[in-house]
Each structure stands twice: as C-alpha cells, then as structure tokens.
Symmetry: C2
C-alpha cells in the first residue's frame, strides 16, 4: 500500500499503583495488514485518550474485559478505510471505532463499534462531543442526573471532555451550572466561552475552602452533582446537596492511580437528604446512540455546544500523554494525531 | 392524680465521639403536668429506643432538629391519656407519639405525631412492626429498594427491629432473602422463625471472609442491599452487587460513634454495575403511613410478619440500654418499660 509499517503499542504489564508509564507498553512494528474476506483495514488518523483507559489496564472484572497482556491497547480512533473486503465499508470511507493504539486496524464491521462518520462535522468530533465522551455526558446527565430547569447542577472535571459537555447540556436545559476545574485559565474558559454560571478552582484548596467556595457558588445547594473526580471533591459535594439530589458517578479520576480508593465519608448525607448516588455504563445506551449524536450534532451546529480539543502528536508518546488526564494538563478532549489528515477530513468539516 | 412524679431524662451534653453514657443526661423529678386548653397528658408506658437517637444528640443540621440541651430526650412512646382538655383525645385513650424519655408527656395533638392506637394489636407493636421501625422497613424496601420477585435481597442488621421486618417483607414479595447478623442465635432465629433463606454471622470475620460468605449466600449476586450498618459490611456488599442493584441507606449503626465515618471505598462498584445507592427519610412518607400500617397489620394477623421484642425496665437506665443497639446485644425491637400496663393494654391485644 505504501512504505509505511504498522506501529502498534502493546500492553505488556499491569500498572499496579501510580500513574502508568512507558514501561507497561511495548512498541512493535509490523507490516500493514491485509483484509481477509469480510474485513477492512482502517488507517487511524486520530486516537482518543480517556481516563477509563486506566481501568482497562487492570486485571479486574469490570463492565468491559481488561486489555489482555500482549494485546494492542484499546482506544477509539477515527480514520479512513484503505482496503476492504467488506461490502458495507468501502475504500475512502471515513470511519470511527475501537481502532486501538496502532496506526492501522483490521476490522470486520461486527466488533469494535465501527460506524461511518456523519458528514458535516470535523472527524475529531466523533472522538469528543459526538463520540464516547459527548454521549457519556448526554446520557449520564439526562438519564441519571435528571436535571430540571431552575435546578443547580455542579460538575467536577468541568473543563474535561465529558464535564464541559455536561455543563453545556445543563445550561441548554435551563439549569444554573457550576463547574469545578483545576486552573484559572480553565475556569475563565468555562464562564466566558461555555456560559457556566460560576466556577471553583480546586487547586491548592483545603476541603474547608472548597466547601466555602462551593457554598457561595451554589447558594441554594446542589440538585445534581456530576462527578468525574471523586476523592475530596465528592465528599465536599455531598455536604452541599439538597433534598432529593442526584449524584451521577461518571468517574473518579483522582482515585484511579491510588493504592486504595478513598470512599465518600459523607455518604450519609444521602440518607439525610433522601438523595441518591448512581453510576452508569455508556454501553447501557447503545441502541440510543444515534439519538444522542443527532441531538448533540444539532446543538453543535446551532453554536450551543462548544468544545476544546488538545491535539498531541506521536503514537509512541501516547503513554505519557495519557497522564495529562490525571495531572489535569489538558483542556477539553485529548487526542493523539497518528497520521496526516487525508483530504476528505477537510471536506467533512464543510 | 396519684402519688407519682414525672421523671424526665434531659440531654445536657453533646456526646462527641464514642458511645453515649449517663454523663450526657440529667434525671429530674417534676410534678405530673396538668393539661392547658387544647392539651392532654399521656402516661407513657413503653419507650422505643432507636439507633437514630444517637444522631439527634449531635448538634448538626439533619433531617430533624437536634435535641436541645436541657430538653427531654426525644423518643416515641405508647401510653394512655390520663387528663385531657382536647376533644379529640379522651381520658383512657391508648395513644402513640413522641412522648420522650419521661414518665408523663404533655401533648397538643398537633405536634409529636400523636395517634390513637388501632385496636386489635398489642400496644408495643406501634413502637415496632406497626411503628417507626416497621414503617421505615416498609417504605425503605418497597419504595427505595424496589425489589422484584426472584431477586436477591441482602439485609444488614437483619435481626434488628428494621432489618427483621425488611427481610420478611422481601420474602412476602417473592425474593431470596439473606440476612447479616451478629450471633449464631440471631442467625438461627432469622432462618427458623422468620424464614430467611440464608444468613451470615459477621462477628469476628475479616472483610475477605465476609465477602466469601456473602458470595456463597448470594450465588447470583445482590439485587437489593438494605443497609443498617455501614462500614466494612457496606464495602463488602458493594463488591457483590449485580447490574442495576439498589442499595438502600437506612442507617450506619457501626459508624455513629466513630470519630470519622468510614466511607465506602468500593463505591465505584456503582459505576461498573449501573447501580444506585439511595437514602431516605421516613417523614417523606407521612401521608402514606396509614397505608403502611394497614398492610403491615394485615401481615401480622396472617402470621406472615413475626417480630421479637426485647423489653427492659427502668427509665433511669435508658442511656445504658441505648448502647445495646450499638453493641448488638438486642434482638428485634428494644423497648423500655416505664410503668405497669393499664388494663386496656391487655384488652387491646385480643
């Protein structure tokens, strides 16, 4: 096909405690694959990095099987079909699916959630606002958080890929929206660009200070807390909930690298306030993904749903880029660019 | 009225950490009160002791105001009206309400939830299966836990006043019911007398042992966990929940005397299993109490709902009796007898 080879990042070691590093992975070069009957080959152009990847590296039973040692690390990509023996996916098609941490993926159209991209949007959006993170925000907030107009919605990890979409959907639904983020620059972006009503910068704050600032930002208390972070932030939020509050457990990015997860000591606030804390797994909503993508896409076109992308380069550095999510270095969706964009990517944006 | 005086137990100190003791209370003797216009006087015969009392002693905002220092300690009683200037409550009526830790209570029929007892049941039942604990079990299980026939319901504090009713209602609804209790004798009672399907004695067990035993007792996993205990038991239960499980937070008797509540470190199991943890306050259901009492009473009459009562004597010793709830010394409903039963109590049982 061309002079390229298929660079693959294999998971070869379980991370244990602490942030994952390059020692967990092995980079190999293989020939570009050829499709067998029913298969097609995708040249991955962009790879999504997500906090959930940290969990997939652990050898524990969860909502999805762990990545096997020696396998390509799991991840969503967008790319272009470059060879096909599958009538539904033709050479040149722009697609998204679980392409993995590799330059070329072989797919059969059954596993891996491969879909052709909806025209009219930048392809990277299908890793962000129109992809897993946007759909997570959509169902987590609307189906688990059940926000009502006039209620106060508090979001942690608010400048992240999921949190930033959660806050904007809550605004669209008529809520007062308060974000918790880790820098003044992120906080300013949330208010000035995304329309958040108030923000709290958690960095360097004690639990008492956080409590005071969240109280000021949410004078009526919190009706919905959408939590991506866990730890102290979850505990403080529990102190500020109102009667009948809903706490959506989407993630716990502060805890993924800890030896022992910190449980929410203030959980009895759920009792006192007849409130609930509820988790969800995106896969529960697979049949409804098209509905979410349609509505999210409409909001993007109308300018009601904005987004930030942080694009970094070099598949080999993906392990270190992943840790940007845990240190809070990125704003919005973190994406690794794996190859130059084909011409069709620019056309798709129009 | 007679030669008696009104012994009152006043809360005079906040408990801080640890089990409450007699030093928090002051016992005073006063004349038996006379009713003003609209009031009536109740001779308290039995006083309910409940784990929630521990929380009412703390000076913290909760679902109910703390007991003020110098006030009679709050508690539900059953007794008899001995004097009345209220047309709705006549001398001789058997009643239940927030009569407090005292021999005689003055009531106005508006505050304190005073109700005449439904005839045909032993009066003490209105402190237990037909009182706050039974109604707590009823709404907590049926409205928050939402058990479906064939599901597995796990109950902690299963031999307690609430837990024993929860388990029996779950059996009535066609569930597999597993109880966690603190002695072999209690476990035997739950299986032999109350019809629990399986039991786990938690005393002296490590978290790993508890996990193994609960796994064996709940081979399909746990659909509803009704938690009265918190701490390690909640954490182990979180490991054993199934997809879509409901964890009902009714109390945390293992944590009330702790300096710092232990949060559930395994709370991310809620995420992995699309499950929820939800608290409730009995007062949310006040308009529906009669419905619950009617159905609970029917089950008692049919022999489907059994109960144990542990009756202790002497108001002065109420502070030490209260700690039986925290050491697990009692089985079923813990009640303090304050006076000899009037003849009408025996008649009510018929």
């Amino acid at each position: 096909m061309n002079g390229d080879s298929n660079t693959k990042v294999l998971l070869v070691k379980r991370p244990g405690t602490g942030m994952p590093d390059a020692s967990l992975f092995k980079i190999v070069e293989e020939p570009i694959p050829e499709p067998a009957d029913g298969q097609f080959v995708v040249k991955n152009v962009y790879l999504s990095l997500d906090p959930a990847m940290r969990g997939w590296m652990n050898d524990v039973k969860s909502y999805i099987a762990p990545v096997k040692l020696g396998d390509v690390m799991r991840g969503q990509t967008v790319g272009q079909v470059i060879a096909s023996k599958n009538p539904k996916f033709r050479v040149g098609d722009l697609v998204s699916g679980i392409g993995g941490w590799q330059k070329y993926a072989v797919a059969d159209g059954k596993r891996g959630g491969w879909e052709k991209l909806v025209p009219g949007f930048a392809p990277t959006l299908f890793l962000g606002v129109l992809g897993g993170t946007g759909i997570t925000a959509y169902f987590g907030l609307l189906r688990v958080g059940l926000p009502k107009a006039g209620e106060t919605v508090l979001v942690s990890g608010a400048a992240g890929a999921v949190g930033s979409v959660v806050g904007q959907i809550a605004k669209i639904k008529g809520c007062r929206v308060v974000g918790i983020a880790g820098s003044d620059e992120k906080c300013k972006w949330l208010v000035d660009e995304l329309g958040f009503d108030a923000v709290v910068n958690y960095k360097g704050k004690s639990a008492d200070q956080l409590n005071d600032e969240i109280r000021q930002a949410c004078p009526k208390g919190v009706d919905v807390f959408f939590d991506n972070v866990g730890g102290d932030i979850l505990d403080v939020a529990l102190k500020r909930i109102r009667k009948g509050a809903r706490i959506v457990i989407c993630g716990a990015i502060s805890q993924y690298n800890a030896a022992q997860t910190k449980g929410p000591a203030n959980y009895l606030s759920l009792l006192v306030h007849s409130a609930r804390m509820e988790g969800f797994v995106l896969f529960d909503y697979i049949p409804e993904y098209p509905l979410a993508i349609r509505e999210l896409g409409q909001w993007v076109k109308e300018g009601k749903l904005k987004y930030a992308e942080e694009v970094v380069e070099g598949l080999e550095r993906a392990p270190e880029y992943l840790n940007m999510l845990f240190t809070g270095a990125n704003k919005g969706k973190l994406i690794v660019k794996l190859a130059d964009e084909p011409a069709q990517f620019a056309q798709a944006r129009l």
